[in-house]
């Protein structure tokens, strides 16, 4: 983890950069991103035909690139971007490209401390996973990688990968299985028809995924071992935060959805759908998005749905920092609502982002959009002025201060506000 207490929590307001002039300076300026600590703002800029750079706080990198995409800050505040020179691609961090270049590179993910950057690469038509410039060693020539997940420390990376080449319209080979899970370069023993929703336990010891064997035959695999039950459909599994041998997933049987743990139904009420279950911090509760009947969406906590329902959708729920209150963002009649424990908090908005919680769990801080302007709201009340662009708020470790990063009239400000004052 990044030690955020080391950040500057004393300067109340800092105008980090005035971006108003940027469009005149460059042929084109792409959307900006800001560092987690708020000290930097960066945009990919076009300097000329086939000449791209990143402008960080007004300064561009020395050597331009032919192409750049996906400008993202690492958790420790470095600018990462995928870059191309001479038809080859690599990761460039703070202007420095990795030594090795690839046919292609995409889908970067960062370790929690920001030290490791992991991404998918393709070289000589073989797919692989690269960590800080080192590609994993895999005995199988992977034909594709559809997605990957990793532990927070990025030491274990598990990917859904195509392990067997497949010819055009070759249904027979397809049914024999052409996909497997590859963990740190080591494929599972078997190949499968389809795999989805790969998940890894935080300690990296266990990997789970959905297996679709045939049209209505689905189950969950844990380290390559299937659950004893088959289901007509499943959604992605998740791990208990404390127990690496407890895997839970929504499963469909007889036209209804249930939640099952290690192959045993634990939510037996039966829903029209169950999406995105989430544990609380210590794993004592599960909240999931459910449809109690057609087009009636809400959150169920431990199989008890909230009484209010929403007509359009509910986004993945979360729990407060104490693990008590379940919170979700819901949509009805074209508006978004923040909902906590079944109660709508505050006014409807044009958009709402997921909240961060104070250490005691009493307050939640989140970004909202109203009439094209952005604000930070606290427990339903707007607590800042209007911004033209705004990033998620960040709380100091003790919860005393809130870091607000936003753009007003083209000027990017970094502000620290006492949370008690919000």
């Amino acid at each position: 983890m990044v030690n955020i207490q080391k950040w500057d929590w004393n300067t109340k307001e800092k105008m980090v950069a005035d971006t108003t002039g940027w469009p005149n300076q460059f042929e084109d300026v792409q959307e900006p991103y800001v560092s987690p600590d708020g000290e930097k703002i960066a945009s990919i800029v076009k300097q000329g035909e086939g000449e791209y750079s990143v402008c960080v706080n007004g300064e561009t990198w020395e050597e331009p690139f032919e192409k750049l995409w996906s400008c993202r800050f690492t958790p420790d505040g470095r600018v990462s971007v995928m870059s191309s020179r001479d038809m080859e691609w690599t990761m460039t961090v703070d202007g420095e490209p990795w030594e090795t270049a690839y046919e292609y590179i995409w889908d970067p993910k960062f370790s929690a401390d920001g030290k490791l950057i992991v991404a998918t690469v393709k070289q000589d038509d073989i797919f692989g996973i690269v960590t800080n410039g080192t590609t994993w060693e895999c005995p199988t020539e992977l034909q594709s990688i559809s997605s990957f997940v990793m532990t927070p420390d990025a030491q274990t990376v598990a990917a859904i990968a195509q392990t067997v080449p497949l010819g055009q319209a070759d249904v027979d080979t397809y049914y024999k299985g052409t996909w497997s899970i590859v963990v740190n370069g080591k494929p599972w023993e078997n190949n499968y028809v389809n795999l989805y929703g790969v998940a890894v336990s935080d300690d990296g010891s266990t990997v789970a995924a959905e297996h679709r064997a045939a049209i209505t035959d689905h189950t969950i695999l844990v380290n390559g071992v299937p659950w004893s039950e088959m289901y007509s459909c499943t959604w992605e599994p998740m791990f208990h935060p404390k127990k690496n041998d407890e895997v839970t997933a929504p499963v469909r049987q007889g036209g209804k959805w249930y939640l099952a743990t290690n192959g045993r139904i634990v939510w037996d009420r039966g829903y029209v759908n169950i999406l995105n279950p989430r544990y609380n911090v210590d794993g004592t509760k599960i909240a999931a998005v459910v449809a109690t009947s057609f087009a009636k969406w809400t959150v169920a906590v431990d199989d008890k749905p909230w009484s209010c329902t929403f007509g359009e959708c509910v986004l993945p729920p979360c729990f407060d920092s104490q693990g008590v209150t379940a919170v979700a963002i819901a949509r009805d009649s074209g508006k978004w609502f923040m909902v906590a424990d079944g109660k709508v908090i505050g006014d409807p908005c044009d958009n709402i982002w997921p909240p961060v919680f104070s250490p005691d769990g009493d307050k939640m801080f989140y970004k909202i959009e109203k009439n094209g302007k952005f604000y930070i709201a606290v427990n339903g009340k707007i607590a800042t002025g209007a911004y033209d662009m705004l990033w998620d708020p960040i709380l100091s470790t003790n919860g005393a201060d809130v870091l607000i990063r936003g753009i007003e009239d083209g000027k990017y400000y970094r502000r620290v506000v006492a949370s008690a004052a919000m």
Binding site: W69, W106, D107, S146, V171, R212, C233, W353
Partner: protein
């Protein structure tokens, strides 16, 4: 009731021909009854108990009319030869019967829902034929090429086996192409909080990449805040909906809509495709429990209509000469966009010649509903089975027919070739690019 006598050329299809060998009476019975008892309910039951066998639906079907009113192509016949006996005999039908049911439901009906408009009771025959497909799919009796497409959806979450790197690479290549017209054109990838997520169908990056360049120019000229996903979820098409593999259909749609949620956009605008609209707007969400897409979805026709009506895009020079249009069932009859389609046609064409019948009464192109995806073995029957479409287009005397739907586009191209109509087949965006005004400050 005796099965209908049919005269057809024998068509070889590896998946069907092999699949039929693996069917056993027990398996057929189990699957048929499971689907009928557990996956259908009130609607099917009521339709069966209401249909008075009056045959009024026949006149609706382009297959029936084009094949000189061959009764075996009448909508009610297709039901009679498939689901009626399955229910009457409680699933005790043989393998050859299932084979015929697969051929009927996949290759002789485009589930276009025209017949529903002709039945005095409003019996939804297309729905019943989709349930027949569902039964066939669960018996592994799906035509080879359609099944392969579904395998692509299941494995890659796109229709055309497009690998993750190919997708992004294609977008970046097309972005460069677009910059040839308008130097600041961009295809913004993964831009969270944009107003619009633009999604397309798998064949665009695979075969019709220039459409991606076109949209990049259009978006720039219209000054839209938009984005495209860089990762799986970008494909809005759905052949699994048509093969009867509803689980894969739902997985694909869920990913597409959750991608829009992840990108925090206000709406999804999709390219010119009819079936993809149906899957993303109706069939997919319905299976998942959503009344409509959680983030609203807008078809290209609606999007262009808004841009033209509000003057965000101005026309510099209208397309000359007679131009006609194909009303895609899934956005016109099944979505009511007929008037908007005419608005945009008139906006960019000097001489728009309408078809007759038109709007919701239009004849299907015969390619939709997964029929064209059944591949080359079934092409002859599909194209020849839509003679009236050729005649209808010919009557317009147009030099170009606009097809705001990918399946229609391919289907109409086949018809134009086979019946030697000598017309160009174009997407609306291709006309728009030609006709629209590019403001001086954006020009290269």
């Amino acid at each position: 009731m005796k099965p209908t006598v049919v005269k057809r050329d024998l068509v070889e299809d590896y998946a069907i021909d092999e699949g039929v060998k693996k069917l056993t009476p027990e398996r057929i019975e189990k699957v048929v009854n499971d689907v009928i008892d557990n996956e259908t309910a009130g609607r099917l039951w009521t339709y069966l108990n209401t249909c008075i066998h009056c045959g009024l639906c026949a006149e609706a079907c382009q297959w029936y009319i084009s094949n000189d009113r061959d009764v075996s192509y009448a909508p009610v016949t297709k039901v009679k030869d498939t689901i009626w006996p399955m229910i009457e005999k409680k699933g005790k039908v043989d393998a050859e019967f299932i084979k015929r049911a697969a051929v009927i439901s996949f290759t002789e009906c485009s589930v276009c829902r025209r017949c529903g408009m002709y039945c005095p009771f409003g019996i939804d025959i297309a729905y019943m034929l989709l349930m027949v497909r569902r039964i066939c799919a669960r018996l592994d009796m799906v035509p080879l090429y359609l099944q392969d497409t579904v395998h692509s959806h299941a494995a890659t979450m796109n229709q055309m086996w497009v690998k993750p790197d190919e997708w992004i690479d294609t977008l970046q290549w097309q972005e460069e192409e677009a910059q040839g017209y308008v130097p600041t054109s961009r295809i913004p990838l993964e831009k969270e909080g944009a107003e619009i997520m633009y999604s397309v169908i798998g064949p665009e990056p695979k075969f019709l990449a220039q459409l991606l360049g076109n949209i990049s120019v259009i978006m720039k000229v219209a000054d839209q805040d938009w984005t495209m996903p860089a990762y799986a979820g970008w494909d809005n098409s759905n052949m699994a909906m048509y093969s009867g593999d509803f689980e894969v259909m739902a997985r694909v749609e869920r990913l597409h809509h959750e991608t829009a949620q992840r990108l925090k956009v206000k709406k999804i605008v999709m390219g010119e495709c009819g079936h993809a609209f149906r899957g993303a707007e109706y069939d997919g969400p319905t299976w998942l429990g959503w009344m409509s897409p959680p983030i609203p979805l807008i078809h290209a026709i609606e999007f262009y209509e808004e841009l033209l009506r509000t003057g965000r895009i101005k026309i510099a020079k209208k397309i000359e000469g007679p131009v006609t249009v194909q009303d895609p069932c899934n956005v016109v009859r099944n979505r009511g966009l007929g008037d908007k389609l005419r608005y945009i046609m008139n906006a960019v064409c000097e001489d728009f010649v309408d078809v007759s019948p038109n709007k919701r009464f239009n004849y299907c192109c015969n390619a939709g509903g997964g029929v064209i995806n059944c591949g080359p073995p079934w092409k002859k029957k599909r194209v020849e089975g839509n003679r009236i479409k050729a005649e209808q287009l010919k009557r317009t005397g147009a030099h170009t027919v606009v097809t705001p739907c990918h399946n229609c586009h391919s289907g109409i191209e086949d018809i134009v070739d086979t019946f030697k109509l000598g017309m160009h087949v174009k997407f609306f965006s291709e006309l728009l690019i030609e006709a629209m005004d590019i403001p001086a400050n954006l020009k290269a």
